[in-house]
Amino acid sequence: MSAVDISRHDVEEFLFEEAALLDEWRLDEWLELLTEDATYQIPSNDAPDSDARNALFLIADDAPRIKARVKRLNDSEAHAESPRSRTRRLIANVRITNRDKDILSVSANFSVFRYRRNAPLRQYVGRYEYQLNATGEALRIAERRVILDPTELGTLGAVSFIL
């Protein structure tokens, strides 16, 4: 497989599968969608285009940190997610914005609805920026950047789950 052969439909299938794994808290399976050197980032709301090396982010995980995050979330003593949030992800406006030989750049809008205990609905709105590796049998996530639209995290509170 290479980046030139992949259609938007293929990318959508992949993102929908990812969303299902996350909504179902199948985090170990989600890890298998990532490359060995994957990154997962959420910039601070007031610096959406910045670089994690010189700006404070909400999340700026390298691959070992992503694995540590999943290990933490699988532990019942990750109190912020015990009991776990119930989430529902809607992903739309999927666009392939660039094709290299091996890498697809993908942009997608999201709305993630989060319920937890008796807290009111919290709705995370923004867009994903992916770099997808297309060299293997299946697509793999090399970069996963989450850009939030709200100007502050505010009443959303925390990003204690995988957004």
Partner: protein
Amino acid sequence: MFRLNRRTLADPEILTRELTAIFDKSWIYCGHESEITKPGDFCTRDVGGRPVIFCRDSSGDIRVFLNACRHRAAIVCREACGNTRRYNCFYHGWSYNRDGKLVGVPGEDAYPPGFDKSEFSLAEPSHVGSYRGFWFISFNPDVADLEDYLAGAKEYIDLVADQSPSGQMQVIQGTQEYDIRANWKLLVENSFDDYHLLSTHKTWLDYMKDSGVQVEPPRGQGLLLPSKGVGKGLGNGHAVIDNINFRGRPVAKWISIYGEEAKAEIDEIRAELVERLGERRAARVADTNRNLVVFPNLVINDGSSVTIRTFWPVAADHMKVTAWALGTKEESEAARARRLDSFLTFYGPGGFATPDDVEALEAVQAGLATWRETEWSEMTRGLNKEGDQLNTDEEHLRAFWREWNNLMTADA
């Protein structure tokens, strides 16, 4: 005896009184000098419940204006940060220069004789003051001089500022702004409560352990985590925990998470500290970590990173939190990246620890609905003990609460 009436954390009437008895009487943190550097630079924010413009005037001096038009009160600056020649109220078109002077009034000839623009400059707080780059404002005309007010907290602000070769720390871009559904005083307590570390932050400690960091304190004296840490009041309600560091500091205390390649640079940072401050002071700066509360609502956590955190009560059970990372002006790209990475291991809405603190505070707030049935909270760890109060005792929490009580029970 020391016990805490839970109504203080739950009753909206208490908050109403706090706004005048605490926040309108104290110095409130406004911003850091590094956030605005050139004439005309500004940041808008809410401080002490008022919208303010934290800015540099035409001479480059730091000023704080109340962000409200003198005509009908509309805010005159609606951007978060930037640089401007004028603050323009778009409603009727009044405009102010960088010095806050009213310079433009459309249709000025309709005003009666005697209307004088010079009487309508943007208003300013009663007092504006700074200590080592940290700027505070007060709406109390009779407030003590800032340095007298800061009292023993100055020593701990010095330990932060001294990390920079030039004494200049820098707020790094990227602001964490998040709400907690809890009373603001619970975050004061939580910001330097070391008693909760083992039970609340087990997953963070596991992460550190997995990463090869020694998380167990040196054994001895029957002390809880970490040993050789103290908690104390610093006067005027300020208080601190001051601990021997053994879990790493971007300033000159290497741990495995930073990577082998960081060792040489951290040695260099340490050598610079020793050269400039001497061995003893360098060790004080680099080998201890400190969580400082500046009464009433500023926290400076100087540990795995340097965090400035302030918070504001929007209701008795709801606060807005703002947090920044602070670095030295001189640090290299790699050191800056390391500092930010270190910040995120623990802190912030996506960190491995802060979300669990938020959960703890919200759990407390939920339980506080029983304040009429169960009136008192227990806060007596270390009470009446001789010698140092530990970081896991509660003397520093009591220091905050005693000042709170003084102000709340003083004559209005």
